[in-house]
Symmetry: C2
Subunit: 97 residues, 2 copies
């Protein structure tokens, strides 16, 4: 499995709108086993996204899905900063689709 842990900040006042966009296209991502969007209680602008995919290829392919591309296009203007996403190798757990 392939995982990502990333943190971004929304431009002021747009965290909820950005969160909604991130959550919209989730149904259309083959190979996505877990995708969790969370707010950072310590920063009103910050969003954490933690993901698990069957493999890195599935993640890459998802970026070409029309709905995902459309969501990215709408979300990008609302993003102030991206922290480097950390790649992970999920070994197991609970709460996979």
């Amino acid at each position: 499995m392939y995982g990502l842990i990333g943190r971004m900040t929304a431009i002021p006042g747009q965290r909820d709108a950005l969160t909604a966009i991130l959550l919209e296209s989730l149904g259309t991502m083959p190979g996505c086993l877990s995708y969790i969007v969370a707010h950072d209680p310590a920063d009103d602008h910050a969003i954490w996204v933690t993901e698990v995919w069957t493999d890195q290829a599935a993640h890459r392919a998802s970026l070409q899905v029309p709905e995902v591309k459309a969501a990215i296009a709408r979300g990008l203007p609302l993003i102030a900063t991206f922290e480097d996403a950390r790649a992970t190798a999920p070994m197991g757990g609970i709460g996979f689709r």
Copy 2:
């Protein structure tokens, strides 16, 4: 919902053993919606744990579950470092139990 994102390192040669311990007691944690144990490909000793709970109280209660207490007791000697876990407020996604 209440979430945690944490990173720890195992003492040399013990990452797999620590991972196994972390994964062992997962079935016994009421209120745990997601608990993913992942290796850090960039560091042979590092483990990421990302968690989602119904609420913080469920997470706290889990630490009193006998199986979890036993796993913690066996795991602690294998842990070299703990980075501060980041609390999150999960807003949604896919892959919740």
